[in-house]
Point group: C2
Chain length 877, copies 2
């Protein structure tokens, strides 16, 4: 253990050591070795962090000694001395995990300042600056290491500003700040019960410990849960010589993206503040300037030119858009960080396309550059241009998409309301990492302060939520729970609508319209189709849905739920007559009414899907669902059927079930009442023959739901085959068709070898399979499932993300057994997981033939399937 | 194929060729070779039948040729000629499958009679006899081969008797019978559209075909389904020279058991009829005499002595009680059949015990001689001796046990009513094989005619239903749907009670009492305990149940359902207060009321199970189940809780679930409201410490229900362990305890390797596991499950018989994965399958540690476990 190398100087590492050095550390090493101006420093490895956690929060052997040795090297290189009263060495301490987690981990600047060394710094720079640094250190240290609230510190600062009759921090003099420092130290002593350490080595030791500990704090855990990042990676710690953007007007600090992270435009994009430290930009406390403005400030214009050159070099080096942090100290540019930049879906698509055109990457890489879930943003509703809208404020368009929701001012409350099924918009003056769970829970985020790179903006883009920031006319009154602007007051619980593409903020709920595919997106998706091996179909129940699905790239219908057709118009009446029929004759008479309507629907779908297969599921839900449940409905149906209301109520009651999900439904209906299946088969083959006669190529696939035993399928198949032969001989020509089953019960998976003997195809119904595998009703789970996900008892909502261990294992068993009987058995899935990227990858790995998703998730499935085919992509998130 | 030997003369076979020759053929061969007086004949093999079915009802190559050759040998041996007009050879044709299926298969006697040969027989015996045989042949042939109804034939016979002014068949003269034969032939021609074949070879050919075809008729299929006999065994056909019990007063026919099949008494038991053919005895048409009466008929007394000797020889030879058929022709005894005799549970136990004492079999064989399900009869309720009973008729006590039910007169109707959940008693003048499904569906069977070996009696004993036969004072009026006797009329749907042990028939429902174990049964079960390796526990929720379970041999409690305790008395009120509590404080206050009550219950169970483990399941059902659902109940609870009825209704409504089976229940309650688990743990450890202090040895096993993910168990286990440590430190001593989980969801089986890490034991809850594996609610399945079983879509009701392919596969996966993590993991099952013999055998084969069954099924489980350990028993059923 003591032989382990826990510490790497920046010039000892490289970009391919992300696992060991974290993303930030590896990139600092890479930039250092490329000769870019990086303040010297070193990285403590993720192994050190993991060992620390394993040892139950104790430093591994040798870590402290190696840290001290590295500090000595820094001291020697810079001719400075840690904690010394002359030319003191000051450092920053930052976390840096394998995957970048913006705002998630804690940072401490100016470490090494003590009552002695602050004087040295004062002598070297100036006293005001030195004490400003010192008070920042104490505040950050108190917050991050000692866990104290910010409030008391902010109050002290406000008091001093009030007493000094100034408005801004930078107007406080050195004397004021000395007094602030004294008060800050008293807060630490009072609240933490221990003094602020005057020993720089104790500061360093505690800061490293705090970074290690922050790996497991709530917001880091939340973030990893949300992004599916493993919890056992650990974080590295970067210790770097301080440089200052706040030493005067020839100093600045800023962040820049090598391309526009919102639109993808190829032009450096970012913001800066003169005479400020980096945290001021990210926190959104002061409103920063657009980066191009640097060229108009003579003292830093040269640094800007240099920055543009470095931006180009880094993008070429990393072959991806970069997110940079820099500081200008006395006109001299320093690079503090580079990493792959987060971007919106639209930007991700444009950058990927452009980089292919620029020859930087190939099409396969381009396909891997867009997160499938990001497409969701592009396919999200937009504000209807024709809608009436009452715009009461405008901010910066930080993350595109439109959303309406109830206003809420607190992250915890946002989460609670969302858990109760409410649709909310989180409104804050500014957000901090502590608000992350509330942002996730909200439909959209609005802030009164901050720029395009503020915390709110970066996080919202990362998770694909519409976001408007810096709506400076807004006042958020947390006390009264309302927001005000120019005479308008919006109270908690009232609806507003945000347009993250225009920055407009509207009263009430404004209608939105369905999106269309951009040319860029079409082009990218056409590449996915060349790469992927997994087919992508759509779940669609109507000709309109089928047309939309085909536009979005579906290669067939994987699930057409016939019952949805029965709810429309007069059909529901014929359906109800069928259900409450007293005799088989009455039932058949009612079915005869339904047949021509179904036939016309099927014909419409066949036409839309000309040349592609259409999988039609026979009647699935319990019949009780179709019956009226209001006195009026019952009276009407009784009159219609010429029976007494009392008799009708008796029939309806008789059809009630304790657990309808596990009751008389699916093929059980067809087995007990084969005339229903027969009617549906007649409608399917009638429509197929009609269409074939028109020249349409039809491939009907009849799917029998809820099979638990091969004998159910055999009986239902007999009905379908008999009807088919009848139509073929009547019409004197045939169409190809197949009969298969929805595998949605554990028993079907476990006996799939037998079932495959009667099935031309399997389609895993992972919605129901999840319900039965977990013994969990989707309708009832809402009450406690969020508690399970919050407490990490379940990794995800299993109805959203396929549970690979349990449900997925059954899919695997079912597929293997089915193909043991029939090696060329066609196998797909048609649950909602068919449009969820990790589930699509799982299906690809199991070598399924296709996934079927709702139409607007078809592009996501195409992309996810292509990425799965292109192999695991190691992207710096 | 043409080289196959399809036909075996009796002297070519032996008893170990049951698979090939069927039970009857093998035993006829065995008796022939043992030198017993068996009329010569031969057997067509089951292979021939199976090949016939495979060839789609065509004779296999060579079968007919081999049959004719065997017939020629019979002709030569006996000096008779098939179909000849002098000394004609007559044969019987009977089915004979691997397993005896009484009354299930069809028989034809007197085959070979034609218009010519009947004259030969008339000359040889007498004309009356010859024509009586001929009319019997035509009737049987018409019914069995041509599928005609009996009615027309019976009408003709009745008409002739009326015209001749006689009461009995045997009073008809040769001339009368000639006339009957003419009329019978006309019926055949009219109804079948073809004449009765006058060619004896055509008769034989068609009879063989009819036997083959009868393998797949409904009643045979029903019987095999009920008894779990495979459908692909096929039947053999036995063709045997006719002997006659109806040639005069020195002739007789009868059936005998070597011991009493109802009580097991070691004494020949049976019935005979003089001057009759065998079918007359079995069909119950004429009332036969007890067999001992043969000694009083001088002309057959010698034959009786001979029969007693043969009975002893056969019992010794086969080492089991035998069921014999014999005929005496002109004073000469012929043996027509021997087979292992069916018997009641009581007889099975007594015979097994006696044969061990006699040195015929050893204890392991004895244990294999009793069907586990037969014990159910012994443990079935008996009429309460103190009850008032209104006996309105008495019959023969054909099969023991007492039962009440609604009277029904038709087998189909009995089945329909039973499917609708009615409890029925089937009442018939006599039963035929066509009534089998109705007998199965009924609680008990009553007939007005027939003896102890009549169809009704034999079948009822076989399936363990209480049965009273030959209640001769009864008249069943099928027309009016009522039964009458001495002024009493009972209409369809009215209740009666049968006592199958006394033969009493009572009006209304008479109270019954729980049975006790006989000494014989105790002795047999003590042997099972030495043989079995599988533990047997009981499901018991109260101290009384626990005491009963221990008496019946349970080695612990495998499932104590704590929620049942909450329904009693004032507890339900505290429970309801807990459920509708608005705050955690209120909930805890209500739980505090429940704790002492639970503690006392647990203490009672621990005392009853001193030294044995007690598995206690924490709260499982959805809370809604505990709430009142009547206006009065709601008003009372609202008053009790001091809240408005409206508020209470709102709370109750909020707890309603669409699918409560898949809702907020099981450990999900404990995860969201850990104070419930905590209260239960406090009650368990409180009781355990109390009992331990009294000197009781306690082994509490706390079982967490409905776990889908190991993290649920981990959290619940933490609560239990924490409470345990609290009690141990307060009391300053410890008790051993374990914490495990009920594996009752597919996901738990599939992730059992993870779950085992936190579990000391697994108990498979196969009730819920069956529900989720099949996606089938037990409450709702009643509407269609019987259709599934009737149509053989499911082999059995999976809630009664463990589905080994699906649910069993999950049990296997769960056990294997669990033991992969913890090789010594204790594994049991506690669903209702724990008391079902085939399921117990399955558990034995999976090497589970124990099964847990309801108390009265504990003996069944002990026996089934011993039989499984003793290996597959090859018994002639």
């Amino acid at each position: 253990m003591s032989d382990s190398k826990w510490v790497y100087l920046f010039n000892e590492g490289s970009a391919d050591q992300r696992n060991l050095l974290g993303g930030k550390g590896a990139n600092l090493a890479e930039m250092t070795n490329a000769g870019l101006p990086v303040p010297p420093g070193f990285t403590i490895t993720t192994d050190a962090c993991n060992t620390y956690i394993e040892l139950d929060r104790a430093y591994p052997d040798g870590l402290w000694e190696q840290t001290e040795a590295a500090m000595s090297k820094l001291e020697a290189e810079l001719g400075r001395s840690f904690g010394a009263s002359e030319t003191p060495l000051l450092v920053s301490v930052r976390s840096g995990a394998r995957f970048s987690m913006p705002g998630m981990m804690d940072t401490i600047l100016n470490l090494g300042l003590t009552d002695e060394s602050v004087e040295g710094l004062a002598r070297e720079a100036d006293p005001r600056f030195a004490y400003d640094c010192y008070r920042r250190l104490i505040h950050m240290f108190a917050h991050v290491v000692l866990g104290l609230d910010d409030e008391a510190f902010e109050d002290v600062l406000d008091n001093h500003k009030r007493k000094a009759r100034v408005n801004n921090d930078y107007e406080l003099t050195a004397e004021h700040l000395q007094s602030v420092v004294r008060d800050y130290k008293q807060i630490v002593l009072d609240q933490a019960g221990e003094p602020f350490p005057n020993d720089p080595r104790e500061q360093l030791n505690k800061a490293i410990t705090a970074v290690f500990d922050s790996w497991n704090n709530r917001r880091a855990t939340d973030y990893r849960n949300h992004h599916g990042i493993p919890h056992n990676l650990g974080t590295a710690v970067n210790i770097q010589t301080m440089v200052y953007g706040n030493m005067g007007d020839d100093c600045a600090t800023g962040v820049a993206f090598t391309r526009n992270p919102s639109t993808g435009e190829k032009k450096i994009f970012g913001e800066f503040l003169t005479n400020a430290q980096g945290e001021d930009v990210v926190a959104g406390v002061r409103d920063p300037q657009p980066i191009a403005g640097m060229s108009e400030v003579p003292s830093i214009a040269t640094a800007y030119e240099q920055l543009q050159g470095i931006a180009d070099r880094l993008e070429e080096h990393y072959r991806d858009m970069q997110d940079l942090e820099f500081t200008v100290q006395n006109g001299q540019l320093y690079m503090l960080q580079t990493r792959t930049g987060k971007r919106t879906g639209a930007a991700a698509v444009k950058i990927a396309i452009d980089m292919v055109d620029e020859g930087l990457i190939d099409q396969t890489e381009a396909v891997q550059r867009v997160e499938p879930d990001q497409l969701d943003q592009l396919l999200h509703p937009r504000i209807d241009a024709d809608a009436e809208k009452n715009v009461f404020a405008t901010g910066l368009p930080a993350s595109p998409g439109a959303a309406s929701g109830k206003v809420v001012f607190d992250a915890d409350e946002a989460k609670e309301m969302a858990d109760d099924g409410e649709v909310v918009i989180l409104v804050r003056m500014e957000t901090s990492p502590d608000d992350f769970h509330g942002m996730l829970a909200a439909q959209a985020v609005l802030t009164g302060r901050g720029g395009m790179t503020s915390h709110a903006a970066v996080v919202a883009r990362g998770v694909g939520k519409p976001c408007v920031v810096g709506a400076t006319s807004l006042t958020v009154d947390y006390e009264k729970q309302e927001l005000r602007t120019g005479g308008v007051t919006v109270r908690k619980g009232e609806y507003i609508t945000l347009d993250g593409a225009s920055g407009e903020i509207m009263l009430g709920r404004v209608p939105t319209i369905e999106p269309e595919m951009s040319d860029d997106l079409s082009r990218l998706l056409s590449w996915t189709d060349q790469i992927r091996t997994l087919g992508v179909r759509a779940n669609a129940d109507t000709p309109d849905d089928a047309i939309k699905a085909r536009e979005l790239g579906a290669e067939g219908i994987g699930l057409c739920r016939t019952e949805h057709m029965f709810f429309a118009g007069e059909r529901i009446w014929a359906m109800r007559e069928m259900i409450v029929a007293s005799t088989q004759e009455e039932r058949i008479a009612a079915l005869r009414k339904l047949e021509p309507m179904q036939r016309e629907d099927f014909a419409g779908i066949f036409r839309a899907m000309d040349g592609y297969p259409v999988t039609i599921r026979t009647l699935d839900p319990p019949l009780h669902e179709f019956l009226p449940n209001t006195p009026e409905g019952i009276a009407e149906l009784a009159g219609d059927m010429n029976i007494s209301e009392k008799d009708l109520v008796t029939k309806i009651t008789a059809l009630e079930e304790s657990n309808p999900m596990l009751g008389h439904r699916g093929c059980r209906l067809g087995v007990t009442d084969p005339e229903i299946t027969e009617m549906q088969a007649r409608a399917i083959f009638g429509a197929a023959m009609d269409c074939a006669r028109e020249g349409i190529t039809v491939h009907p696939e009849i799917m029998i739901p809820l099979v638990s035993d091969v004998r159910e399928l055999r009986r239902q198949r007999e009905v379908v085959d008999r009807v088919a032969e009848l139509f073929f001989s009547e019409n004197e020509f045939r169409v190809t068709y197949s009969v298969g089953t929805m595998i949605e019960l554990p028993r079907a998976c476990l006996t799939a070898d037998e079932i495959a003997a009667e099935a031309d195809f399997f389609s895993f119904g992972t919605n129901d399979l999840t319900q039965t595998t977990y013994g969990l009703s989707r309708d009832d789970a809402a009450r406690f499932l969020h508690i399970y996900v919050d407490k990490a008892i379940y990794d995800d909502d299993p109805f959203q993300v396929l549970d690979q261990k349990g449900v997925g294992r059954l899919v695997e068993i079912g597929t293997d057994l089915g193909r043991k009987t029939k090696p060329d058995l066609k196998v797909g899935i048609c649950g909602e997981h068919g449009g969820e990227p990790s589930s699509v990858a799982f299906c690809h790995n199991l070598k399924l033939d296709y996934v079927s998703a709702s139409p607007f998730r078809v592009p996501i499935a195409r992309l996810a399937a292509a990425q799965a085919a292109a192999g695991e992509h190691e992207r710096d998130r």
